[in-house]
Amino acid sequence: MNDRHIILRVISKFLIPIIVVYALYVQFHGDYGPGGGFQAGVIMAVAIILYSLIFGVPAALEAIPAGFARGLASIGLLLYAGVGIWAMMNGGDYLDYDFLVEEEEGGHAGQHLGIILIELGVLFTVAGAMVTIFYAFAGRVAEIRDEDW
């Protein structure tokens, strides 16, 4: 039926998991090289957008529902703000990472934990927001046949 696009389907089936793994690599290596939450969230959203371009928006909506994307964005922001509240509950200022865990003087465990958690929050929010925006655009377009291009 759609044998015209078989090359793209095979290549993207092979590459979309690799793109997701690359997004996670960029996320967790933000401490040691260029990277961090923003880039990783965008790369993760690009993987989902590639899937929906090749296999259709309804297939993508079944894999990553629109409500899930919205919820993911909200959870990311709550995670980030929650880290600040956790620091306040342990006696420090808002978003003061030194008070997150009990540690000896001069240790960096709280800073590392705080940075990992907020970068995770940024990843969730950016990926969720980008996927939501894409679904909002793609969900309204009438089905354009290939000849109309």
Binding site: G36, F38, I54, V57, R70, L77, I118, A136, F137
Partner: protein, 194 residues
């Protein structure tokens, strides 16, 4: 900055200028979206030439990657060509742009040299971040340390802005379920496949 880096920067900035002029003069929206993606990619190359790899990475991912895809999606909702503008109507904006540009170029005479050690950007807080990251945070990448720990409030604000943008687009344009319901009415199950 030695001569080689300066030449590369001048070359890349000239390409950016040419692309910007081309974007303004074109009327085919598809070509304009593609050129804006090229603009972002050459900006990313210029940022690498200036030794700002984190910024270059983000610019390449966001500008050349997802922004092009979203602009194409938005372009599908409107039309393929831009409207014609009467050339007389753009005379007053042209004069405003020329005046503002001249004032900005006049102001750059007073700026410190690029990368100079004594400039306020590199001397006061910046130098202290570079000196204290090792002992305060212990993370090798100073950009992440500044972004996530020293300026964590700003990053929280940025994340909130991205969240607000996503939610407002979803509220304005719909939550994306229309295409799914439309294709469920069509019993053969064909979606919008390529």
């Amino acid at each position: 900055m030695n001569v080689g880096t300066a030449l590369i920067s001048v070359g890349l900035l000239t390409m950016l200028f040419v692309i910007a002029v081309a974007i303004v003069r074109m009327r085919n929206l598809f070509a304009i979206v593609m050129l804006s993606g090229t603009y972002s990619l050459i900006s990313a190359a210029w940022f690498v030439a200036l030794d700002a790899v984190d910024v270059a990475f983000t610019e390449a991912a966001v500008g050349a990657g997802i922004s092009t895809a979203l602009m194409l999606g938005a372009m599908l909702l409107t039309s393929r060509t831009a409207k014609v503008e009467r050339s007389l109507a753009s005379l007053a904006p042209l004069l405003v742009c020329i005046a503002t540009g001249a004032m900005l170029i006049y102001a750059t005479i007073d700026l410190p040299a690029l990368g100079s050690v004594t400039s306020p950007v590199n001397a006061y807080v910046g130098a202290e971040y570079l000196a204290r990251t090792e002992s305060d945070i212990g993370v090798p990448n100073v950009v992440t340390a500044v972004l996530a720990s020293y300026r964590g409030f700003d990053t929280l604000g940025e994340t909130a802005v991205i969240f607000a943008a996503g939610i407002s687009v979803a509220l304005l344009l719909g939550f994306g379920e229309r295409s799914l319901t439309a294709s469920m009415k069509d019993k053969s199950g064909r979606g919008r496949k390529l």
